[in-house]
Chain length 408, copies 2
Amino acid sequence: MSEQSPLDLAEGDPFGPHNLPYGVFTTADEPERRRLGVRIGNHVLDAGAAALALGSPYADLLAQPDLGPLLAAGRTAWRDVRRALTAWVTVPAHRPDIEPLLHPVGSVTMHLPYEVADYVDFYASENHATNVGRIFRPDGDALTPNWKHLPIGYHGRAGTIVVSGTDVARPSGQRKAPADAAPVFGPSVKLDIEAEVGFLVGTPSQLGTPVPLDSFRDHVFGLFLLNDWSARDVQAWEYVPLGPFLGKSFATSVSAWVTPLEALDAARTAPPARDVPLLPYLDDAAEEEPGGFDLRISVAINGTVVAEPPFASMYWTAAQQLAHMTVNGASLRTGDVYGSGTVSGPEVHQRGSLLELTWNGRDPIDLPGGKRTFLEDGDEVTLTAWAPGPDGVRVGLGEVTGRIVPAP
Amino acid sequence: MSEQSPLDLAEGDPFGPHNLPYGVFTTADEPERRRLGVRIGNHVLDAGAAALALGSPYADLLAQPDLGPLLAAGRTAWRDVRRALTAWVTVPAHRPDIEPLLHPVGSVTMHLPYEVADYVDFYASENHATNVGRIFRPDGDALTPNWKHLPIGYHGRAGTIVVSGTDVARPSGQRKAPADAAPVFGPSVKLDIEAEVGFLVGTPSQLGTPVPLDSFRDHVFGLFLLNDWSARDVQAWEYVPLGPFLGKSFATSVSAWVTPLEALDAARTAPPARDVPLLPYLDDAAEEEPGGFDLRISVAINGTVVAEPPFASMYWTAAQQLAHMTVNGASLRTGDVYGSGTVSGPEVHQRGSLLELTWNGRDPIDLPGGKRTFLEDGDEVTLTAWAPGPDGVRVGLGEVTGRIVPAP
């Protein structure tokens, strides 16, 4: 009886050859040598070594310490490289070359696989925006008048995007309850999760040239889970009039794995019906490809699932966000990241933040270790997700996890 | 009678050896070879070539295509390199080596001298914030309740920071007057200037470790003039609740010259008296060095000075902004840029934006070519400034200029 190959996956493995997300890893033997990896089942293929072993023309893109060169190579290269990788992990004749280049996922260290250029965060879930409006502005309309006319977004801090598994220190800052005479300073007492999906720009654009809706796939390489940690007390005091700043900038966690858009063709889905006519640059009614992605997200705290936000419910699509972000001529760079905004569905158990799940602390949720309003030191938050793939198989998204450590 | 040396400057030249700002240039002969330059009078010294010619230990920092290595080298290196440069342009024995390495400023092309990491923009002028509050929120208090407790700021787009001299295309976007039923799309009709001072971070900091007030000079290398172009109509419609986005992200112009903080020791000045007690991390009453900079800015449109904003009037200092930006543990990277916010003094002719100068278009200003409410296509905006230097001589800041071209 021969030993089983790591390439012989169980039927329906969510990280099968239909998926092939990209990441960057190091091994214990060579902790300084970052390498591009492709996940297959519970293993990481050293993609650069495979390209060199097989004499691939894509060695220049794959034998690299990060995703930068592949991202910048553009959509045709993305397709061709993916085809090559698919062959390497599926064609039996390649097994003698490929099998020695597979590392168990648990044996390697994953790193942020790209250098972040600019980071933008959107606010694209109608359910989330409505909940937040009701909580923070109880006397006004839940949605601001612009909300259904444009995908609201703002720039975040690119330099504090960290890879899944990085501890997150509780931030300190100013907060002031409405009844207090003056602000106080200290560790945040309302530290929260925001379950989001991040999009990674590969192909840059020229300053002055908008990127239309139908060019989305020419520029965006892939997506990943993102946790936009938020200190709600800091945010509430600072955000009028120029938006969130220190309430968000201390850390944003992203998955170590980037799922190429090509793996998600079966997950494309129409966004919700729009209530107001959209300006032409945002009107996607006539787009060939549906703008949404049917991603089923789970949010767990210390292993207990607290929410299951459906990404298919997002009002604004990633293509609309890209078109809006560039309609004033702003250019894109390789490595730009943009987040969808918190994903919340219409049901209570579909809300992607503790702010919403506990209604700003009014309704604590039960966990095996005790009740929670916001995050406590030691809490570990994990986002996972899957999407429908070809032939009924699931496409797994790489998890994003982070543990809260006490304020320094 | 011998030919005069470019190093024989007129008495009181604002770009004398007491100044020595840094930039990056190319020559017509070698348009692809970017080199670090230091301005002396109306010439640029090829600093890397000088270091090599003189056998300087700083050749590794100066013979570079941008400021990155010098910025990352830290404060002691900044001081030592500046001392060496001062000797090179002042000690007569060095003239035979130095003079051949001087290029007339008008003969070279200047480039953005650093790679921008994150870009943050503040809102630190009490006069500006009060004017904007009165214009945009006439029914409320001019200053939001947080304004005197923390330096309000937000992240801007790092990828669209452009060097002085770059044309700026009029951005298009959504706007909606309060009386309109729905937004319209088109080129901005309220394109504006914001006269600001930018600060450039050299030494990075660790995630989780705030930078206290008295570490400002360990991290910040220098400053420069910055024009934060703003489409007021786009901004007014989009900015509630998450702050400015497309109204700002199309372009931010910066000077080609970075003035090291060491050239501005004589310009340090105490900020205005504070009206409310500050939390300890922002309280600079006991700081050894006064937190302000006495920079006298001029704003010109097509050569006519329209405003003279005094930077000494800023309520929040650059050290306070840095302390605030990092107090939640957010890290700094080499190349981080932060803007002061529009500089406006108490007098009408000291206002650093057309929004304020024309009171949102109500009171046009007269220019030789006709009246202006906001910028017209073809308008060229130039910011210049000087500061008091040693022995009564002025320190010139490098100008920042940009011309508005029609929407594409």
